[in-house]
């Protein structure tokens, strides 16, 4: 390749006076882009990973690359169990999974329109309380204490919580509670979710999905704040 590129450039510079061919790719060749390579992902996760109408397929766009990479690894080994994902990733090498994670982290399509909440104001208020203040009496930290005051996460591995539907957030919190979703020890999310009741989960999921997009939806830079406890996925 390294030899071919300078030659190609030289040929191009010779051809500058000649009208350029209309197509960048020769006919019958796959476009050399990540977008083309991840079509197997975007059919469920939406173009650019922006999510689709299916409530269980999460938005990937703009999540921190480290978080997405950790999830891809967890699906590849089967630690996160979802057979269609486990199957797709089983024989993909780590550098490629990293490139996929970076691709989706760099996409910033607008957040989806907010659906009107299907729960009462009381439930929303309970959710808001847990998200912003937690419940010290029950050892529940505020979601915001790790996922950021704007809930957009922190580099490299703490995901933002906005743009997700309540069904997806509930399913994930449920999976943490029951131990079917795990992460590297110390598995902080499993500890936190273990303190939540089903009503808490419902309320948190409803409140998060009712929030509008912030002006800057990007995750905070690494080290912007200190986590209240140790987390295997994101060492302090």
């Amino acid at each position: 390749m390294s030899k071919q590129i300078p030659i190609a450039v030289a040929v191009w510079s010779l051809l500058t006076l000649i009208p350029a061919p209309s197509q960048a790719n020769p006919p019958n060749s796959a476009p050399d882009t990540m977008e083309a390579r991840v079509q197997a992902c975007t059919i469920c996760h939406g173009d650019e990973g922006k999510g689709t109408n299916d409530v269980y397929f999460p938005r990937l766009a703009g999540k921190p690359a480290g978080y997405l990479y950790n999830q891809l690894l967890a699906f590849r080994t089967g630690r996160r169990h979802y057979p269609p994902m486990n199957y797709l990733l089983e024989f993909l090498p780590e550098p490629y999974l990293k490139a996929m994670a970076e691709y989706f982290a760099e996409q910033h399509p607008p957040l989806p329109a907010i659906a009107p909440p299907e729960v009462s104001q009381g439930v929303l208020a309970h959710g808001q309380g847990l998200v912003t203040h937690g419940d010290a009496a029950r050892s529940i930290p505020a979601c915001a204490s790790c996922h950021g005051a704007s809930l957009t996460g922190m580099e490299p591995a703490i995901p933002g919580l906005l743009g997700l539907r309540p069904a997806y957030v509930s399913a994930q919190l449920g999976a943490w509670r029951y131990g079917t979703r795990t992460a590297k020890a110390p598995d902080c999310m499993q500890v936190v979710a273990g303190h939540l009741t089903e009503d808490d989960v419902k309320a948190v999921a409803a409140w998060l999905s009712s929030l509008p997009a912030p002006a800057n939806a990007s995750p905070a830079p690494k080290g912007t704040y200190t986590l209240p406890f140790d987390c295997g996925s994101q060492p302090n």
Binding site: A40, C41, I43, P83, P84, Y87, P93, Y96
Partner: protein, 427 residues
């Protein structure tokens, strides 16, 4: 290597300073003893290469587990087997085995204590491996990090938990013996045969497996449905299936080693083989395998696959199939099924979608898939899974369309065939 250097250094020192000789000679004797069991680096690296060719890692390393420490669950129709620890740990691995005992196990399918090994371990293929190659693999396995991890007992249902049944299986399906070169063929063909029939253990999937879990010699490489996984391993001898008779050596070699080629790509269980094993083989060896595989393919007038639906339904499927194809498939695979090889496989003339068994084509439409990421193709293109967006009728229609268009000689399939594979085990 480091130990060898230290030893040489000590010997040099001993020669120059005779007073130190007694002390040093004691050390060297101890080290020499240890040294005796460590094979030369060249043997170890040859063994590593051959262990790749035998794909030992795929079964003997568990997901997120330590290299070669075993414990991987192998679901079979008879129950679940757990693979063994083949690290050099003396208590739980093969640390106490001799090279002789290791060869005995590879060659006869009997463990060190004489016990019969379940034939999930492909000893019916490994019996063809030479003593020299077995010794190199042994030397390599002795060089990896020892892991103390007890083997997990198998979980087999009655009556398959009775090991003496293996005797019967062996009588039917096992013939012991190293590979015997065919003097009428080239050295390259023989090398390919040795790898395909021996370490490669290709027959484990590509030879039909009967109800007793055995491969019959007379049906070698004739293809079959892989139990539990529900993928069809096509015949390697029939050009109607994956017979490679009309492929170029380069295309076969590319497919084996990089996972993609101008003619097609590997997915599912074969992706595993390329990912863990074939991508590490030399050009010469994949070429030799290609020469052998091309050689065993028999030219035969292609049969027309038998449709499982009546003709009237078939024509309805074709018209719906074209609609689905134009909407979902055309942008990559082209209006004429020409694809954009190697990344978008061609569908016109693609044997793997025309076989009597439509299992693989249906599964690819339902579940999509990535070819393996290899040194030769590090960022493969993925086929999207359509299970969530196409109905059983649409899946049957589009599979029927690609099986019968552009001169393809496959047959129509029914919606119920598509539906059955929605519940197939994925990995």
């Amino acid at each position: 290597m480091l130990k060898v250097k230290i030893l040489v250094g000590l010997l040099a020192l001993a020669g120059a300073v005779p007073i130190a000789l007694v002390v040093v000679s004691k050390q060297t004797a101890a080290q020499a003893q240890e040294q005796k069991s460590v094979a030369p680096a060249s043997t170890i690296s040859k063994g590593e290469y051959l262990a790749r060719a035998g794909d030992c890692i795929a079964c003997h390393t568990a997901p997120e587990g330590k290299l070669f420490a075993g414990g991987r669950a192998m679901p079979t129709p008879f129950g679940t087997l757990y693979t063994s620890n083949i690290t050099p740990d003396p208590e739980t691995g093969i640390g106490r085995w001799t090279a002789e005992e290791f060869y005995g196990m590879m060659h006869t399918g009997r463990s060190r204590d004489g016990g019969l090994i379940y034939p999930a371990m492909p000893f019916a293929s490994y019996t063809k491996v030479t003593r020299e190659d077995s010794d190199a693999i042994y030397a390599y396995l002795k060089s990896v990090e020892p892991v103390k991890q007890l083997n997990r007992p198998h979980d087999l249902s009655f009556p398959y938990n009775n090991r003496s049944l293996i005797l019967g299986w062996r009588t039917l399906f096992f013939s012991e013996g190293e590979y015997q070169p065919d003097p009428s063929k080239s050295a390259e063909w023989n090398r390919g045969a040795y790898l395909v029939e021996g370490l490669g253990h290709c027959g484990m999937c590509h030879t039909p497996i009967n109800a007793l879990g055995g491969n019959s010699q007379s049906d070698a490489f004739k293809g079959g449905l892989i139990p539990m996984q529900n993928w069809y391993a096509p015949s390697l001898t029939s050009n109607k299936e994956a017979g490679l008779g009309d492929w170029t050596i380069e295309d076969i070699s590319d497919l084996l080693r990089t996972g993609v080629s101008k003619r097609g790509a590997v997915y599912g269980p074969m992706a595993e083989v390329t990912y863990n094993s074939l991508q590490y083989l030399s050009d010469e060896d994949t070429r030799a395998m290609a020469v052998y595989l091309k050689g065993i393919a028999q030219d035969a007038a292609p049969d027309v696959a038998q449709p499982s639906v009546p003709p009237s339904e078939g024509s309805l499927l074709m018209s719906l199939g074209k609609t689905v194809y134009d909407q979902r498939c055309d942008s990559c695979h082209g209006a004429q099924g020409e694809g954009a090889p190697p990344h978008y496989p061609p569908l016109a003339g693609n044997q793997s979608i025309q076989m009597q068994s439509a299992v693989n084509a249906i599964r690819m439409v339902l579940n999509g898939g990535y070819p393996p990421g290899t040194a030769g193709n590090p960022m493969p293109y993925g086929m999207p899974p359509f299970a969530g967006v196409l109905s059983d009728n649409e899946v049957a229609a589009v599979v029927t369309y690609i099986r019968t268009s552009w001169g393809n000689r496959g047959a129509a399939i029914s919606a119920s065939e598509a539906n059955q594979l929605r519940s197939a085990q994925l990995n």
